[in-house]
């Protein structure tokens, strides 16, 4: 598709989203008011939206307010986009807030990006203002913001995105960078932002699977990782890649509206990449090491992702690179199998629901003695034994194409000495020689729990204060493997690559995993029905067909048509005659920006 045609399609979808947001009344918030502005709202309406977003119910001067990234960015994007249409009273409110309120950066990458973006736009817009929350000049505030934004872009270009591939938080990154692309006055920074957006859209496209984001995610928690399509990124997935039915609810989420109304358009070839199901292929990605700042003697290693994009399913896994016994960000999802279908009916995933206060204090500064209770008071599901997300420090995995082996070596003293496997309950399962099989239409799946399992249900509801009747958050089978040396082997295969479902079941169950060295030597071997051998030692070497897997050799990206050597800041995406090349022009001798956020 040529860029002009693509842009016209994106324009049409953008208008569809904005029209729906307005028609559904979803345009009354600070983020989504961009959908209201073309309709000529009254001054009273605009002021109400701004006061509602920044003051909420408080009746106080701006200097008594506390503002964070979720106020700083949307108010500046609203101002920058609609400055000519906003009444003076609205501009004054935003200016008062941005100069008088106490503004804080938060502690995640998306927090800092949103905060520094809003602060930079404010400092550029009001160069002579006094910023009471800082005391520094607008020039100093802008300089700090540019150093961080420029620095994090360079880090991403060299090492991979830190808060990577998050269905929930990628949208905050996109909206902030698009806001900078549209409004920042610094041309050099704008050029780098344009390149950064290319990488972030490429991240979305390379693992796009019919409206879902396949593979591992730095953050996909909050009990939604059994959903097929989820998170705030859905509006931009629809906007940039199309191809699915418009959903007036999920495609009008507020965080995305400033990006939807923007003029930024990604290169058209990413939409083609996103929908290319012509042949199965492997996508490899390197992502930045997790931020683990205590309970560790060594720093984390880079994250390596491997995602097999088949025609009718996607299987993705992650080498999380975590040091020591504490897991990374609490909503990390390391692997899953994804296909097309309703929520809860198109995902298989397993997880050890590791719980320890140390898992929080490894990257949060609260006292270890209290942080377990403090965090789980706000987010109780982070400690639940049924949890299906959140990387366990005892989990290791090896994948080759449509087969993955996941092993756990859990201390016997662990609070949760078991592993949870989620299976959809809308399909008929069969069992043969310890293998469970499902005929999923265009593809088949077989999985072999390692260890004694119990077949249970899992049903969680968003509003579960009295009785859970329908599991709108999670609803399916839960296989609890009651073993501290649990594991799972899973193989998926396209239906047209085997004679029949029965033949796949027969072939798969005939090749039992080699468990004679598990758990004593921590080694498991699995032969795939396609003739490959996966050999994994928990905490040791990974081999495919006898060859050691060299994760250190992973580039920044590896996929058909993609060239992206790690540590160069140079990336080329090509498809047919189209190509997009970005060179971040990073000085290899320049020290990287220190990483001071989690993600």
């Amino acid at each position: 598709m040529d860029q002009q045609t693509y842009n016209a399609e994106v324009d049409a979808r953008a208008q569809q989203i904005l029209d729906a947001a307005h028609a559904e009344g979803r345009d009354r918030g600070l983020w989504a008011a961009h959908a209201l502005m073309p309709h000529g709202p009254s001054e009273e309406d605009i002021v109400e939206i701004i006061r509602g977003g920044l003051w909420r119910q408080a009746e106080c001067p701006a200097r008594d307010l506390l503002g964070g990234p979720f106020e700083i960015l949307p108010c500046m994007l609203l101002l920058c986009r609609w400055e000519e249409q906003l009444p003076d009273s609205a501009v004054a409110l935003i200016r008062d807030f941005m100069t008088e309120a106490h503004l804080e950066r938060g502690n995640t990458e998306n927090h800092w990006l949103m905060a520094y973006t809003g602060m930079l736009l404010a400092a550029e817009r009001w160069p002579d203002a006094e910023f009471a929350w800082s005391g520094l000049s607008a020039g100093a505030i802008a300089a700090e913001a540019k150093r961080w934004i420029g620095g994090i872009i360079e880090r991403t270009a060299l090492q991979g995105h830190h808060e990577y591939d998050s269905t929930g938080y990628h949208i905050e990154h996109m909206t902030a960078y698009i806001g900078l692309y549209e409004h920042v006055q610094d041309d050099a920074l704008r050029a780098q932002v344009d390149k950064m957006l290319t990488l972030l859209v490429a991240d979305m496209a390379l693992e796009y699977f019919n409206g879902a984001w396949a593979g591992g995610h730095s953050r996909e928690g909050y009990r939604q990782n059994t959903w097929t399509r989820l998170g705030g990124i859905q509006p931009l997935q629809y906007l940039y890649f199309g191809g699915i039915d418009f959903d007036p609810v999920s495609h009008t989420q507020g965080f995305a509206i400033p990006s939807v109304v923007a003029d930024y358009r990604p290169p058209a070839l990413f939409a083609d990449m996103a929908w290319d199901r012509s042949a199965a292929h492997v996508v490899k990605k390197t992502k930045a090491p997790r931020t683990i700042y205590r309970h560790a003697r060594e720093t984390a290693r880079p994250v390596r992702k491997y995602t097999y994009m088949s025609r009718h399913f996607a299987l993705g896994s992650t080498q999380v690179g975590l040091p020591g016994n504490q897991a990374g960000p609490i909503d990390l999802v390391s692997w899953d199998l994804t296909w097309s279908g309703p929520n809860h009916q198109a995902t298989i995933v397993c997880n050890h629901p590791y719980r320890s206060p140390d898992r929080f204090s490894a990257f949060l500064n609260g006292f270890p003695q209290h942080i377990g209770r403090a965090i789980s008071t706000d987010k109780p599901y982070l400690q639940w034994p049924d949890r299906l997300f959140g990387a366990s420090p005892y989990e290791r995995m090896l994948q080759h194409e449509g087969c993955v082996v996941v092993l756990y070596d859990i201390p016997a003293t662990d609070d949760h000495p078991f592993v949870n496997v989620f299976l959809p309950n809308g399909h008929a399962w069969s069992e043969r020689d310890g293998w469970l099989f499902a005929d999923l239409g265009p593809f088949y799946v077989g999985l072999r729990p390692i260890g004694p399992y119990e077949w249970m249900t899992i049903r969680e509801a968003n509003n579960a204060n009295i009785l859970v009747r329908e599991g709108d958050l999670i609803d399916g089978w839960l296989l609890r493997i009651h073993s501290v040396r649990a594991g799972l082997v899973l193989e998926a295969i396209e239906a047209d690559e085997v004679e029949s479902f029965d033949s796949f079941c027969a072939a798969r169950s005939a090749l039992q995993p080699e468990l004679s060295q598990w758990p004593f030597n921590k080694s498991v071997q699995v032969q795939t029905t396609t003739g490959h051998v996966l050999d994994i030692v928990h905490g040791g070497a990974h081999r495919i067909d006898g060859e050691i897997v060299d994760y250190d050799a992973y580039p920044l990206y590896e996929a058909p048509g993609v060239e992206a050597a790690l540590g160069t800041g140079k990336v080329r995406f090509a498809r047919g005659d189209d190509a997009v090349e970005v060179d971040f022009d990073v000085d290899p001798n320049k020290a990287l920006l220190p990483m001071r956020v989690i993600g």
Binding site: L66, E104, R105, Y116, A140, A143, I292, R294, Q369, R596
Partner: protein, 301 residues
């Protein structure tokens, strides 16, 4: 400088049960007196971890930034940059801004750039994560270029203004409090109680067993007093420690230099507690839910 910041008790805490960026009005620094009202100093609403008062200013080290309330000024001045955050410890040195800061990412000092902003340089990048994570800082009163850091790995001694870092023998245990008195360094550990050292490198345990972690150390009437995970303890560092007051995680304990029987202790959670009789009886002061930093009034006042 605002008079209150000199003559008043200063409390870094929150009046709400929760704090942080997801609330419309957050915590901040409050000035007042135990039996009077508490007023926010300026409009800063940062979550305080440590307070420091020196000749020039009050410094607020906080969850998302570092700020100073300088004498003669009427507002807070930002001292952090894009590399410094979650500042758990701070100490004065000479120069401008004349501070050593400790945070989960290490120990840093700053200079001013051409725009007047503090730009921080970290001195701990070669260390491991636990060694970098700094809970407490102390500048050697005999050598300003030598700093003791209470880290998650133990006491790290930085010398030559951060050019070198050495492990002490108080190791493999998080150290959350440092103090200097009687020509000796004192350290409060996650386990094992209180330790003392002449040089900062060689430590010995002092006094009896202390239940829980030690978060702050102070002195009053020739006794050492410490804020611990299970209340306040006091003693002579030779015999057993006497536990005083309610049982909770006290993160800080301040003693009024004008009246060493008057203490204010901050708990997180638990709020602000006050004693007028050296810890025999305690009263909770209304309002505060979480307090991690308290400073007594300036003694000259």
């Amino acid at each position: 400088m605002n008079t209150d910041a000199c003559s008043a008790w200063l409390v870094g805490g929150t009046l709400a049960a929760t704090s942080g960026i997801h609330v419309i009005q957050g915590p901040g620094l409050y000035g007042g007196a135990p039996n009077g009202a508490w007023t926010r100093i300026g409009h800063n609403q940062a979550t305080a971890f440590r307070l420091l008062r020196d000749k020039r200013r009050v410094v607020l080290s906080a969850n998302h930034g570092l700020y100073a309330w300088e004498r003669g000024e009427e507002r807070w001045l930002q001292l952090h940059d894009e590399t410094l955050t979650e500042i758990l410890a701070v100490a004065s040195t000479s120069g401008d801004p004349g501070l050593v800061a400790g945070c989960p990412y290490g120990v840093a000092t700053a200079t001013r750039d051409a725009l007047g902003a503090a730009r921080w340089t970290f001195h701990s990048d070669a260390l491991g994560p636990d060694e970098r994570y700094t809970n407490a800082l102390l500048v050697d009163p005999n050598d300003e270029s030598r700093w003791l850091a209470g880290s998650e790995a133990g006491v790290v001694v930085y010398s030559d203004s951060g050019a070198h870092a050495a492990r002490s023998n108080l190791w493999d245990v998080p150290v959350r409090a440092l103090y200097y008195t009687c020509d000796r360094f004192w350290a409060g550990a996650e386990r094992g109680g209180l330790f003392s050292s002449e040089d900062g490198l060689h430590w010995e345990r002092m006094g009896g067993k202390i239940e829980g972690a030690v978060y702050d150390i102070n002195e009053a009437d020739n006794r050492l007093v410490a804020a611990t995970g299970h209340g306040i303890v006091a003693g002579d560092a030779e015999g057993p420690w006497q536990r005083l007051g309610p049982r909770m995680l006290f993160a800080t304990l301040a003693v009024d230099g004008r009246d060493p029987q008057r203490w204010l202790a901050g708990a997180s959670p638990g709020g602000l507690w006050h004693t007028e009789d050296g810890g025999q009886t305690w009263n909770q002061l209304d309002g505060f839910k979480h307090v991690r930093a308290v400073l007594p009034p300036e003694e000259k006042a």
